[in-house]
């Protein structure tokens, strides 16, 4: 393991600027690390030349003093982001071979900031999954293992390749997307940080759509500071996304402070749910003490509609997905299946049958059903009304507190194949993550500690609209006190 791959983004940036090492040395170290970790199945495409080209540009620009904030930093990009000329498949057979003629707004922003690309990261098909097992490329295997066991574990999902790459130290930072927990749950499962910003902070333009009213991009990295650095580069107004927020991107990194004096931390009583392991509740209590130690006042709050968030999500997200995924018809891009003697309709149906995996079909079917004539009001409109109530719960809670602390996920990472046969058990993974998604709020997972099997557990912070800063600051306060330095032992 080379020295450079053990550095954070901030350390790489500062060391490169100081002339301690070149961008080329950074890119080569990470390219080697990526090539040496193929057993994890974290990458769907490796792009070492891209990383080297960005490094060459950074090395050349170093003397000029006109360096972008991510100059010299190679990143992994989730396969959901369109990358010009590089396969972008959303982990699906139906987009096999698709090479976008453009970059997504977020990846274009990262390039503008000087970052290079190590490759595209494996993910659950169309971001539908919580274990990375629905990918057409096969599951990502977590670098983490239970103590004394070599059972393959999930890195979580849908940003499973992203989380595995950062936790295996083969990428210093990566992009993810979060529709109902897809950044935060994998971050928790692999002992890293991940933040989903306020809905609208990052443009959705060029991100393959899953559920448009929920989809948000965000970074995963090893530290809170690195997340702040990356998010600053990724966020920003884009007129091509009708829900992009036309607001300034704050200087989150410069404003980082773990002093929470005068801040109130809300603890929602409805998040104490049955069946969650004691270790997770114990870590939650520990997190409360840490934030109190950082100067915050702790208050109990109530989010009365919490238990209805998951069923609401599993109406709205499939409904939007069924509509968004109607575009995969075998005409404009990706797979086409043309049954002998079949008409246009038969081509559509055969293409979609062959191109979509089981979970994606299941969600398209649910979505089609809840939007169909006679059922629309009973399911979809009802869910949108409950979503209003969930959003209202948070608005009321934030009259009493500045940030909310909960666990990120109801368990540590589970074994591959353990939950694939039971969709509802899989959905429950996101029980703590989904409410903030439905309300469009910024939320982050930071590592809190290890469970008795030696697996990471995460703590989850939720902030009010547009206040990523309090989320990052509370995250920093936890990070400083948790002193989480564990990393998986290399077996790959």
């Amino acid at each position: 393991m080379s020295d450079l791959t053990s550095k954070t983004i901030a350390e790489l940036r500062d060391g490169f600027r100081a002339g301690d090492f070149t961008a080329r040395e950074i890119a080569e170290s990470y390219n080697d690390a990526v090539a040496g970790a193929r057993l994890l199945n974290a990458f769907t495409v490796e792009t070492p030349d891209d990383a080297l080209a960005a490094a060459a540009a950074a090395d050349e620009a170093r003397g000029s003093g006109e360096l972008g904030p991510l100059a010299g930093i190679p990143l992994g990009i989730k396969d959901l982001f369109a990358t010009k000329g590089v396969d972008t498949t959303a982990g699906s057979r139906i987009l096999g071979g698709f090479k976008p003629p453009y970059d997504s707004h977020v990846t274009a922003n990262l390039r503008k900031a000087g970052a290079g690309m190590l490759g595209k990261l494996n993910m659950d098909e169309f971001a539908m999954g919580s274990s990375n097992e629905t990918s057409a490329y096969g599951p990502v295997i977590s670098p983490w293992r239970r103590q004394g066991s070599n059972v393959g574990l999930t890195p979580g999902g849908s940003s499973g390749g992203s989380a595995a790459a950062v936790s295996a130290w083969i990428a210093p930072g990566v992009t993810g997307t979060d529709t109902g927990g897809s950044i935060r749950q994998p971050a928790a499962f692999t002992g890293i940080c991940g933040i989903k910003p306020t809905y609208g902070r990052c443009s959705r333009w060029g991100i393959v759509s899953f559920a448009s009213s929920l989809d948000q991009a965000g970074p995963l990295a090893r530290t809170v500071r690195d997340c702040a650095i990356m998010l600053e580069a990724m966020a920003g107004f884009d007129p091509r996304d009708s829900t992009s927020l036309d607001v300034l991107v704050p200087k989150w990194e410069a404003s980082l402070s773990s002093n929470l004096k005068g801040k109130r931390v809300g603890i929602p009583k409805e998040y104490r749910i049955d069946g969650v392991p004691d270790e997770i509740n114990a870590l939650w209590d520990q997190g409360i003490d840490w934030l109190r130690d950082a100067g915050a006042e702790v208050v109990e709050i109530s989010l009365p509609h919490t238990q209805y968030a998951l069923p609401t999500y599993y109406i709205i997200a499939p409904a939007e997905a069924s509509s968004n995924l109607a575009r995969y018809d075998g005409v404009r891009y990706g797979l086409r299946e043309d049954p002998e003697g079949g008409n246009l309709d038969a081509m559509y149906a055969a293409t979609r049958a062959a191109g979509f995996g089981a979970e994606v079909k299941r969600r398209i079917m649910i979505g089609t059903y809840v939007l169909s004539a006679g059922y629309y009001d009973a399911y979809f409109t009802k869910a949108q009304k409950v979503r209003t109530l969930i959003k209202r719960d948070f608005a009321r809670a934030f009259e009493q507190c500045d940030v909310i602390l909960t666990p990120t996920a109801p368990s540590a990472a589970f074994g591959l194949a353990e939950k694939m046969s039971d969709p509802l058990a899989m959905y429950l993974n996101d029980v703590f993550a989904v409410p903030a998604s439905l309300a469009g709020l910024p939320a982050m997972s930071v590592p809190g500690g290890l469970d008795s099997a030696g697996l990471p557990l995460g703590l989850h912070l939720i902030g009010p609209e547009l206040d990523e800063q309090i989320v990052l600051n509370a995250g920093l306060a936890i990070e400083e006190r948790a002193g989480f330095t564990a990393r998986p032992e290399k077996w790959w």
């Binding site: 009708s242 927020l245 209805y308 891009y333 059903y369 209003t388 109530l389 969709p423």
Partner: protein, 95 residues
């Protein structure tokens, strides 16, 4: 409410996904389990509650009303499984 095999066949047709009878039969209990579970929303009193339409309040912007064909036909067609004479080609629609 629960769905029958015939309803699942109809939904698959609406969704344009070809399915074998055995696939349909497997989906019936799966979909019914999910539908039964989401129906707990019926317990929530939503009288007088407006359905949420925008998660973060914002004004919809208007763009200039100008015609723009993009001038990028080649790029648009580059990923097509079958492109002919500058168009997307599909199986014959009219006999």
């Amino acid at each position: 409410m629960s769905v029958s095999a015939d309803q699942v066949r109809h939904i698959a047709k609406l969704a344009r996904i070809a399915m074998s009878d055995s696939e349909l039969e497997r989906l019936v209990p799966e979909l019914n389990a999910i539908i039964g579970w989401v129906e707990q929303l019926g317990e929530v009193d939503t009288d007088g509650v407006e359905p949420l339409t925008a998660v973060i309040d914002q004004k919809l912007r208007l763009r200039a009303d100008v015609v723009d064909d993009g001038d990028c036909r080649e790029a648009v067609l580059a990923n097509a499984p079958d492109a002919q004479h500058g168009f997307f080609a599909v199986p014959k629609v009219i006999e």
